[in-house]
């Protein structure tokens, strides 16, 4: 039992406050060594999860940011062509046979390791964060499936490279595209919600220890209520933290003090034009009043 409930407090110790479902999910990821797929709105702290896990496990975090058109050369390996050319030149007068040169320049020394290869050839299991997998295309997803099931990479010139350690894989998705069922089946799944009042308060306190206590609870109350408004893009935790930092910088001690300053600082929370327009001074002061 002691092992099971371990990860929550450990996460808290590195400054990441996880709710129960998430800490269970992370615990299972570590126990079962299966990839974890995290979904949720932007800004709920999916990427931070991986960073926190790496800190808890005291291991490296290898991050692969996905984008459309991502392919093997930028995710697994690439040969270092410049170095290869130089090597060929340097050995010109050694009178080596071409096959001998070939053997030399297609060796590990000339291999540029990209994140996926890097992740499976570490001494200690790293945390592999595959960020925004929904941005990559289907072809990459299929490729990833293969890697996640076998944990080995085949390089034609070198042969098959087996994983020296299995990375803890965390995939995040914002749901801009449906992921394949095959990928979903292979992963553990957790949906990350916006934090509730208490948890968000804890997060703000953990991240900004210098923040005044009453301002912190006002900020959290304000943001919690703001999320209930009809917005295009709800502010995430990152936005809350930004805003809190901004308010400190603007020397605001209470949201009720200076409505104009607070209204102008809304650019930290609301990131689209229509959202900004839908939060005029009146709404801001009403929410501030509620929070206080």
């Amino acid at each position: 039992m002691s092992v099971i409930n371990d990860i929550g407090p450990k996460l808290a110790a590195v400054g990441y406050i996880a709710d129960d479902p998430l800490s269970v999910a992370l615990q299972l990821t570590v126990d079962l060594a299966r990839p974890l797929l995290l979904e949720g709105e932007a800004g709920v702290g999916k990427t931070e999860t991986a960073k926190a896990l790496a800190k808890v496990l005291d291991t490296r975090l290898i991050r692969l940011q996905c984008y459309e058109g991502l392919d093997a050369t930028s995710t697994i390996y690439e040969w270092n062509y410049q170095k290869q050319l130089l090597a060929i030149r340097a050995r010109e007068h050694d009178r080596l046979s071409s096959s001998a040169i070939e053997k030399q320049i297609f060796s590990e020394d000339f291999l540029l390791r990209r994140p996926l290869l890097e992740a499976i050839s570490q001494e200690k299991s790293p945390v592999l964060l595959i960020d925004e997998i929904d941005r990559a295309d289907e072809e990459f997803e299929a490729y990833l499936l293969e890697l996640l099931s076998d944990f080995q990479v085949t390089i034609p010139e070198l042969g098959t490279i087996e994983a020296t350690s299995r990375p803890y894989v965390i995939l995040t998705s914002n749901g801009t595209r449906e992921l394949s069922d095959a990928l979903r089946r292979r992963c553990l799944y957790s949906y990350v919600e916006f934090p509730d009042h208490q948890r968000e308060h804890d997060i703000v306190r953990a991240r900004l220890p210098d923040l005044e206590a009453n301002l912190a609870s006002e900020i959290v109350g304000f943001v919690q209520n703001l999320r209930k408004e009809d917005l295009e893009k709800k502010p995430g935790i990152a936005e809350t933290l930004d805003w809190a930092a901004a308010l400190v910088g603007m020397e605001v001690h209470s949201l009720l003090d200076d409505p104009d300053k607070v209204t102008s600082s809304m650019i930290c929370l609301l990131k689209t034009e229509s959202d900004l327009k839908s939060a005029p001074r009146e709404l801001v002061s009403r929410l501030a009043g509620k929070a206080a």
């Binding site: 269970v24 999910a25 070939e102 289907e138 595209r177």
Partner: protein
């Protein structure tokens, strides 16, 4: 899980797990023996933790997407706590479980199988065509079409051969305009804009490393995939025949395309539309569309697409074209939700509304208002000219 169950012998537990797996599968979760083994293995590997903990663990293990994530708690509780062992009682007890019920086979399948033989042989229009029409296929088709018009609904009203050709040609033109999206992957190409270093260095080896022969690579254009949704409800009947030609032109000319017609139900008509015999194709379509009645259920129909076809058909190169006037008898919220879901499957969503070309028409029906935020390109389509005007716009998508 009462204390007595917690200390139950493993045999009983594994039976319960199998039963639970069946329960979840019956409620729409994708679960096989593999999952069953995983759970059993996981639960037996250590002393059973608290109920709450088990629930969270199984939720993480078994849920695959947000829908399942949200439904899991109810299902779990229904099985383990309310001791609902049979699905029948479950369904009575808690409605959330039947959000994704086992649907009966879609109506149109019966239509298809019933109507195919008729369309293939018995109908008079085929005879007309094989009759003495020396002028060629075109006139034969025309007569056939007229015949079937008199017999059937006005969905495929009189078709002027000039108009048919114009519509088909236009459809092809539009398809060409949207034709290609550049892929972002590099492939070896003779006149590429980048050097393929890997290949170049390999071939330079026998020449002492002198890269004499340069290989190039570039991104390749890949065809877009077009899915057309045609509204054939009552309110669209004046446009249906014209649009059907348009859809036919598109689907026949464009290999990567699919067509659906809908009013209260969605019908996959790609095969019927691809039929070389134009008259037979139109007859089949008419028969398919005929079986339905009432108004338009846009949300419902798009939902059907999302559930049954989207995973298989749509990819990141898919452009969806909806041809509809937006008069919807379903709930606008439903339409909005389904459109949002559809947007995740397709790259672009184009909505062509014939009424938009009318004077004084503003798209203010509840359905149109709900749909607007999800539409990438919204345009009129009431005449050939207005369709032709789309071309430069579509080329930009």
């Amino acid at each position: 899980m009462t204390p007595s169950q917690t200390s139950a012998p493993p045999a009983l537990l594994s039976e319960r797990i199998i039963d639970f797996t069946n329960h979840m599968r019956a409620n729409g979760f994708t679960m096989g023996p593999q999952e069953c083994i995983t759970i059993a293995h996981h639960l037996s590997s250590k002393p059973l933790p608290t109920m709450q903990r088990v629930r969270l663990e199984l939720k993480t293990l078994l849920a695959g997407d947000r829908q399942e994530w949200l439904r899991f708690d109810d299902l779990f509780e229904a099985y383990w706590i309310k001791s609902g062992r049979t699905r029948a009682s479950l369904q009575q007890k808690s409605p959330p479980h039947i959000t994704r019920p086992e649907r009966p086979a879609p109506l149109w399948q019966q239509h298809l199988s019933d109507n195919r033989p008729e369309g293939d042989g018995k109908t008079p229009q085929i005879e007309v065509e094989t009759g003495d029409q020396p002028a060629g296929e075109a006139s034969g088709r025309l007569i056939a079409a007229k015949h079937s018009v008199n017999r059937k609904t006005d969905l495929k009203n009189i078709v002027d051969p000039e108009e048919i050709r114009a519509a088909e040609a236009l459809a092809l033109q539009l398809a060409r305009a949207m034709r290609y999206r550049l892929s972002r992957r590099y492939k070896t190409a003779k006149k590429g804009n980048r050097l393929d270093l890997r290949k170049t260095i390999r071939s330079a080896l026998p020449r002492g490393g002198e890269p004499i022969e340069l290989f190039r690579r570039s991104t390749r254009p890949r065809p877009v995939h077009i899915i057309v949704f045609l509204d054939v409800s009552g309110s669209m009947k004046h446009y249906s025949r014209f649009f059907l030609q348009f859809v036919k032109g598109l689907v026949c000319a464009w290999l990567h395309s699919d067509a659906f017609v809908f009013h209260t139900r969605l019908v996959h008509v790609t095969d019927a539309v691809r039929d070389r015999n134009s008259a037979r194709a139109m007859t089949r379509l008419a028969l398919m569309a005929e079986g339905f009645g009432g108004g338009t259920k846009l949300g419902e129909c798009l939902g059907q697409f999302n559930r049954h076809y989207a995973r298989k058909m749509a990819n990141s190169r898919t452009v969806a074209i909806v041809l509809s006037d937006g008069y919807d008898t379903g709930a606008p919220e439903k339409l909005e939700a389904e459109l949002a879901r559809m947007k995740k499957h397709v790259r672009k969503l184009i909505w062509l509304n014939p009424l938009l070309g009318w004077k004084n028409y503003a798209p203010i029906t509840a359905a149109m208002l709900a749909a607007r935020p999800h539409i990438d390109y919204f345009a009129a389509a009431n005449t050939l000219e207005s369709l032709a005007a789309l071309e430069p716009q579509l080329a930009q998508l």
